[in-house]
């Protein structure tokens, strides 16, 4: 029986409810923790590339070892992946080979220096030949567009993800051209809150590797530019068993950038049996079981707008659905932060070398819905 239970599920069950059962405790803590478990396990150059069931089954020992370090008696012990990586070294092919030859182990025998220092997120003695710091400003638009195309609610949620590979103990400052855009922010613990309060500058000693420096929110009060529009004509007729379906996607307020990676998904009403559609570009699928229509559009060419037209066959005799389906949209715009946020400069103190710096902007659709 235990074989059928997949391990990830058991981890989740164990961690979410075990402390809760023992006594009353803060619920958010459990959920937050259970969500933080996979984080060190699957994020890129941490333990495993992806956190899937077979991977966990293969590495069950490592998972055990890591969990052992993360939790003691139901209370989180160390969740910082930098520290965990020093305690339990991630399995790599090279290390496995070395270990079998030399007999050394994956388990560190010294307490990570970071654990005790005032910068627990960074380990000491980091060395790189190429010193580089990359920052990705990624913004997501959450929006609800109503039938007529007007915006009901729209807000921008942004994050700055960093990949910092710098030698030693660098102290970075990052400043924005227009920090006042940021309505609400939450920081990685490394960011000095006081500097931000007084000068609106992000000052921090970065963790080593990938981390999320900042997530922010641009308030709904500011007008959010909506970069795409969807023209739709979806109609069910009461009498006939055929419905018309037609959608066109077009660019709007894109600041001269192209919109890529457009995908349209829609949950069709139960009454729809099948769809007979022709896209002007891209590919589409309709799953008659889940009633999920998805259309992989790709790039939008403003000269020739992509469209998807055709008919729906409806269950004979059934009355027409009350509501037209909601259209969910995914897209990406490179080189653009839709809120207009711009990084002014990045400076490094505390180390002598010249790092290579790079900043990338991207806008994505978050929860972008069009009601029809």
């Amino acid at each position: 029986m235990s074989r059928t239970t997949s391990l990830p599920k058991r981890i989740k069950i164990h961690f979410m409810f075990f402390p809760a059962i023992l006594s009353d405790s803060t619920t958010v803590l459990e959920f937050q923790f259970s969500c933080s478990i996979p984080a060190p396990l699957h994020s890129e150059n941490d333990y495993f590339g992806v956190c899937s069931e077979p991977v966990i089954k293969d590495n069950v020992v490592v998972v055990y070892e890591v969990l052992e370090e993360m939790l003691d008696n139901g209370f989180p012990l160390a969740t910082e992946s930098n520290i965990l990586k020093e305690l339990i070294k991630p399995p790599t092919i090279l290390r496995t080979v070395v270990n079998t030859i030399t007999g050394s182990t994956n388990v560190g025998d010294q307490l990570p220096t970071g654990q005790l220092s005032v910068v627990p997120w960074r380990r000491t003695g980091v060395k790189y030949t190429n010193n580089e710091a990359y920052f990705d400003v990624i913004e997501e638009i959450d929006a609800i567009i109503d039938k007529s195309g007007s915006t009901i609610t729209a807000e921008i949620q942004g994050v700055i993800d960093a990949c910092v590979k710098l030698t030693g103990m660098p102290d970075l400052t990052l400043s924005f051209m227009n920090p006042r855009l940021l309505d609400d922010v939450s920081f990685h613990p490394c960011v000095r809150f006081k500097r931000w309060e007084s000068e609106r500058i992000l000052s921090f000693i970065p963790p080593d590797g990938n981390f999320r420096l900042l997530s922010y929110h641009v308030s709904a009060q500011n007008l959010v530019a909506i970069p795409v529009y969807v023209k739709h004509n979806i109609s069910f007729r009461d009498s006939s068993s055929l419905g018309r379906f037609e959608i066109t996607v077009g660019p709007k307020q894109t600041m001269g950038k192209t919109i890529e990676g457009v995908t349209v998904t829609s949950q069709m009403p139960k009454g729809v049996l099948n769809m007979n559609l022709t896209p002007s570009q891209g590919t589409h699928t309709f799953d008659p079981v889940t009633k999920m229509l998805s259309w992989d559009v790709g790039k939008i060419n403003p000269q020739k707008l992509p469209s998807l037209k055709g008919t729906m066959s409806l269950q004979a005799g059934a009355s027409k659905p009350d509501e037209n389906p909601t259209i969910n949209l995914q897209f990406k715009i490179q080189q653009l932060a839709i809120s207009g946020l711009k990084v002014n400069r990045l400076d490094m103190y505390g180390e002598k070398y010249k790092p290579f710096k790079g900043i990338k902007y991207m806008t994505k659709a978050g929860k972008f819905q069009v009601r029809t």
């Binding site: 055990y64 008696n73 220092s117 910068v119 609400d184």
Partner: protein, 1047 residues
């Protein structure tokens, strides 16, 4: 191809089957689950051999396989003896895996587990802290009652370990031992008490966790550590923060008085009782001022504020509940933004956060109103989230936003998720009852929904309409008729029952339809649901009473049917109704009143939020989520009527005195005193000082304070302004006389001190005048004299001292700035002198230990009192609609240590935007500096914004003139500081104060006599008066009648 295989099948069906069987076994055997029993045994045998081999790699391999077996849920307990032998392995990975195994199986094999104990005892003495820590961790996880004494000993030793990491593990072990053997409670509390004193951020979270588990009622253990915990909080790791914040919330609720009943009601009451006489008014003001927030209470609120920006949802939620439960109502608003941010995280967290918001939004809809649209439902949300969002939208609905909301609800009603659509209809019903303006609109909308195709929607609408109609019984005949028609089509029992009830209730309004309905129902009675049957009986009874001519036979028929129903409820009801309405010889007096009984006015049902009764649980707890008291839930007590003695939290001041002795001596003293002899660590922490505390406090404090300020402004401004005038007049007079003197000194303070004393005097005499008492008590004379004297001196003393220390510090800071990454003590200088005796690992231990407890040389203390009066910077008439007020928040200025921080509140009283507000030309006297605020892009009509700026007044009361400019206009304004605002309070002991006082007699000394009315002559009144005009702090004094103040 297919035909081929078919033929093959036909030829040798049996062969195929065996092949399949083989395949099945071969796929399964690697994982070993369905392998033969014997092979399993054999496998364990070879595991045993591997464990007994000499090669580490073989052992490791075996251990990995064993752990793999445990993970798959297989019993590996028979390997226990073989595994336990390896507990002493040198290889750390083997050791770790053995630990994993031991924790899993030790409880089952207690005797064998004892074999490993001596290894742990040895490991507890290992020089490597990681090994010590993990040995303790495993030892305490082994649930074998015999070893309780050993565990106790180990915990005691570990709690005094040099490594904070080991001490952290000791704190964890406390909880485990307690759950194994609650008898040990007293001893464990001792350890907790010791660990609570620990200054490491690493330990703090874990020990508070242990405290919460073992002895949450021993709140007295927290007193001495309260301030330390508040100050450490930002540096503690995230999980620890959550626990500490929850504990401190409980603590605050027992130790401080409620900040909630502010001003308004109190004042109203007073005014009702007395005429608003001047004297009375003064009294009222005094009463109001009586509630000043305990500085410790403020400290907690202030220090938790930055944590709202945490990336960890649990921390944000913890701070939010802290603000909700203990901060003044006016300040709780800041949590909404952060909570709304959490809605972006995964749906489990979203669910909890939405639940908490739902509870909050019932009580205080205001704070979430700006975020209304964040709660709009998306079609992709799971149903649990959708219903919670609906709940919140309902709570937030008011006259202003209801029309937008109803439009939004219209979309929801059409949702494919029918459960959600039904919930929306209920929501509409609730909005209709709560907001009278839209009741009719909602009713009409709901009636339209009655023709909806979906039955669930119609049924829900019927139920809601029934409730609405019950509230407004008048003229809804049409709707009732419409609903009566629905009876033919609708099948959902609740809806049918609702319609029947409605018709019965209004049977006199629809006299033609009601009997007909009854007729139809009589026909279908037997096939109806029980719920409907009961309502048919009710309808029959009501009609019998009002219209017996038409319905007598029908009702009797129904009653007969009911008499033989299968359900006893219905039989009972039938019997009851029959006795009541059908007159016979046995029926008593009651039947006379049957009509009154059946057709009485029924009170309308209250449509209430399901979250209404949750507010008695602490937010963010499991109990709140489940709405059931969970085991281990710690009740949040009500505010005490009278605050318990706040001095129990005083620890700093006494320690401070010790730290002020020369360094060498202090070190000796410390190391002798502490129970663990980490003199270096002590040094570190002693230097990182309490000025870091107050600094970290000040940044967040400003805004918090200003909120409080705003509340009481209006009330106190009247009398304070007059006072202000007289003061400033006098001061300027003095100013002129002393200009020469001042110029000769670089940083002379005497003038301000004189002024200060002058203030003191004038105010005391003012008040005595006001009370119209002309008695000049000789004793009061002398008292007030001494008071003002000592005060002025102390200020001088500390100022000089401060200067000295500042000079000392500045060069040092540079050296360590690269290492000292702690945000919150930028000026602290950990002068850890590496002693040769220290091992490198110990040094590493010490790195993290510079904690901000209180031990600096001069610590700027938090202001004892923040005056509530604001000064007009720019009147709205002269500023063309732009009004500006300023006040002194009495916080150390963030822009420079010589600057006085000033908060300016800008109000836009016009009906259009004011754009680009900034500081224009500055006309400052020589030497004066000013840090301006960032230009404000635009200020909305009726909007106000608070900015802070810093001005270095050069310790004089000269006026700073500058221009406040908008896009179109420039207005000249000026700020002249009252002398008291140029001072900075510091904390020092009485002894130090006297010493410094002795050093500074002579040139700067001034003394004067203050005549005070006897009624003003109580310590608290004097204290209040002094702190009102000057930013000073009180020195704890042994003698009652001498007041000393520090600047």
């Amino acid at each position: 191809m297919s035909s081929n295989s078919f033929s093959y099948n036909e030829q040798s069906g049996g062969g195929e089957a065996t092949e399949l069987g083989q395949e099945a076994t071969s796929t399964i055997s690697p994982s070993g689950a369905f392998g033969l029993f014997s092979s399993d045994l054999k496998k364990n045998e070879d595991l045993k051999q591997m464990l007994e081999s000499n090669k580490d790699s073989a052992k490791l391999d075996a251990m990995k396989r064993i752990v793999g077996m445990i993970a798959k849920g297989k019993n590996a307990s028979e390997l226990f003896p073989a595994v336990v032998k390896n507990v002493a392995s040198k290889n750390i990975e083997i050791k770790k895996l053995v630990y994993v195994y031991l924790v899993r199986y030790a409880e089952e094999q207690q005797d064998l587990a004892l074999l490993s104990i001596s290894t742990f005892q040895r490991a507890l003495k290992d020089p490597n802290q990681l090994i010590r820590a993990s040995a303790l961790r495993v030892l305490s996880s082994i649930r074998v009652p015999i070893i309780v004494p050993i565990m106790m000993l180990a915990i005691k030793e570990a709690s005094a370990d040099l490594s904070p990491y080991v001490r952290k593990n000791a704190a964890h072990a406390i909880q485990k031992l307690y759950s194994l053997d609650p008898e040990q409670k007293e001893m464990l509390i001792e350890v907790i008490e010791k660990l609570l004193k620990d200054k490491s951020t690493l330990v703090a979270g874990s020990v508070v966790m242990a405290f919460e588990e073992v002895c949450p009622d021993r709140i007295d253990l927290i007193h001495k550590n309260y301030r330390k915990l508040c100050n450490l909080l930002v540096d503690v790791e995230e999980w620890g923060q959550v626990v500490i914040i929850h504990m401190l919330t409980r603590y605050a609720r027992t130790q401080f008085v409620s900040p909630w009943k502010e001003g308004d009601e109190l004042e109203d009451n007073e005014k009702n009782f007395y005429e608003s006489d001047d004297d009375q008014k003064e009294k009222t003001d005094k009463r109001k001022k009586l509630y000043t927030m305990d500085p410790d209470h403020r400290l907690l609120i202030r220090n938790t504020k930055p944590l709202l920006q945490s990336r960890n949802a649990a921390v944000v939620m913890a701070v939010a509940q802290l603000y909700w439960h203990i901060s003044p109502k006016s300040e709780a608003g800041i949590i909404s933004k952060s909570l709304v941010r959490l809605l972006r995280s995964n749906r489990e967290v979203q669910y909890i956060v939405l639940q908490n918001i739902a509870t909050m939004s019932i009580q205080r809809k205001g704070i979430f109103e700006p975020y209304l649209k964040s709660f709009y439902v998306r079609s992709t949300d799971p149903t649990m989230i959708k219903t919670l969002k609906l709940e919140i939208l309902t709570n937030l609905a008011n006259e202003a936003n209801i029309s937008t909301l109803l439009r939004e609800f219209q979309t929801y009603v059409k949702s494919q998720d029918k459960q959600f659509a039904a919930a929306t209809i209920q929501t509409i019903g609730r909005c209709a009852t709560n907001i009278l303006e839209v009741t009719d609109t909602c009713l009409n909308g709901l009636v339209c929904l009655l023709s909806n195709r979906d039955e669930i929607v119609v049924a829900e609408s019927v139920v809601v309409i029934k409730k609405l109609l019950q509230m407004q019984p008048a003229q809804h005949g049409e709707i009732i008729k419409h609903m009566a028609k629905l009876l033919d089509s609708i099948t959902v029992p609740v809806a049918r029952a609702s319609i029947l009830w409605l018709i019965g209730e209004n049977c006199e309004r629809v006299p033609k339809i009601a009997p007909d309905v009854l007729r139809k129902m009589a026909k279908s009675f037997t096939s109806e649901d029980d719920l409907v049957k009961l309502q048919i009986l009710n309808l029959g009874a009501k009609l019998y009473l009002t219209n017996s001519k038409q319905t007598k036979l029908l009702t009797q028929y129904i009653l007969n049917l009911g008499k033989y129903d299968q359900n006893y409820d219905i039989r009972d009801r039938t019997r009851f109704i029959r006795q009541l309405i059908v007159p016979n010889e046995k029926s008593g007096a009651l039947s006379k009143y049957a009509k009154k009984i059946f057709l009485a006015q029924k009170p309308a049902p209250l449509l209430e939020s399901p979250f209404k009764d949750r507010d008695h649980f602490q937010l963010g707890t499991l109990s709140h989520t489940l709405n059931i008291k969970a085991t281990g839930y710690l009740e949040l007590s009500n505010w005490p009527e009278v605050a318990p003695d706040p001095s129990v939290r005083n620890v700093e001041v006494m320690e401070l005195a010790k730290e002020w002795t020369p360094a060498g001596k202090a070190k000796q003293e410390n190391s002798a005193k502490k129970f663990y002899s980490e003199s270096e660590e002590e040094e570190d922490s002693s230097d990182s000082s309490s000025d870091s505390e107050s600094e970290s406090g000040s940044e967040s404090g400003e805004q918090g304070e200003s909120g409080e300020e705003g509340d009481s402004n209006e009330d106190s401004s009247e009398d304070s302004s007059s006072e202000q005038d007289s003061e400033s007049g006098r001061e300027s007079g003095l100013e002129n006389k002393r200009t020469a003197k001042r110029n000769s000194k670089a940083k002379g303070k005497s003038d301000s001190e004189d002024g200060e004393k002058e203030n003191e005097k004038s105010k005391t005499s003012d008040s005595s005048n006001a009370e119209s008492s002309s008695i000049e008590d000789s004793s009061s004379d002398s008292e007030s004299e001494s008071e003002s004297e000592s005060e002025s001196e102390s200020r001088r003393v500390t100022k000089e001292k401060e200067k000295k220390t500042k000079q000392d510090r500045t060069p040092l800071t540079k050296d360590v700035s690269l290492l000292d990454l702690d945000d919150f003590n930028p000026v602290s200088t950990p002068v850890a002198l590496p002693t040769p005796a220290l091992s490198p690992s110990l040094m590493a231990d010490l790195e993290g230990l510079n904690l901000s407890t209180s031990s600096s040389v001069i610590s700027v203390s938090t202001p004892a009192f923040v005056p509530t009066k604001t000064h007009v910077l720019l009147h709205r008439m002269s500023g063309k609609g732009l009004a500006a007020h300023y006040f002194f928040p009495r916080q150390p200025c963030i822009f420079g240590d010589k600057m006085v921080s000033i908060q300016i509140t800008l109000n836009n009283t016009t009906d259009r935007k004011i754009e680009n507000i900034h500081i224009g030309e500055k006309k400052l006297p020589i030497g004066m500096k000013m840090h301006v605020f960032n230009p404000i892009d635009s200020l909305e009509p009726e909007g106000s914004i608070t900015v802070s700026m810093g001005i270095d007044f050069c310790d004089s009361t000269q006026t700073a003139s500058f221009q406040l400019c908008t896009k179109d206009d420039c207005f000249s304004v000026n700020i002249q500081p009252p002398v008291g605002e140029l001072l900075l309070p510091v904390a020092m002991s009485e002894k130090d104060f006297k010493k410094e006082q002795g050093m500074l007699t002579g040139m700067n000394e001034t003394s004067a006599v203050i005549i005070a009315a006897p009624q003003n002559f109580t310590p608290s009144v004097i204290f209040q008066k002094v702190v009102n005009v000057a930013n000073v702090g009180a020195v704890p004094s042994g003698q009652d009648n001498i007041h000393r103040y520090e600047e």
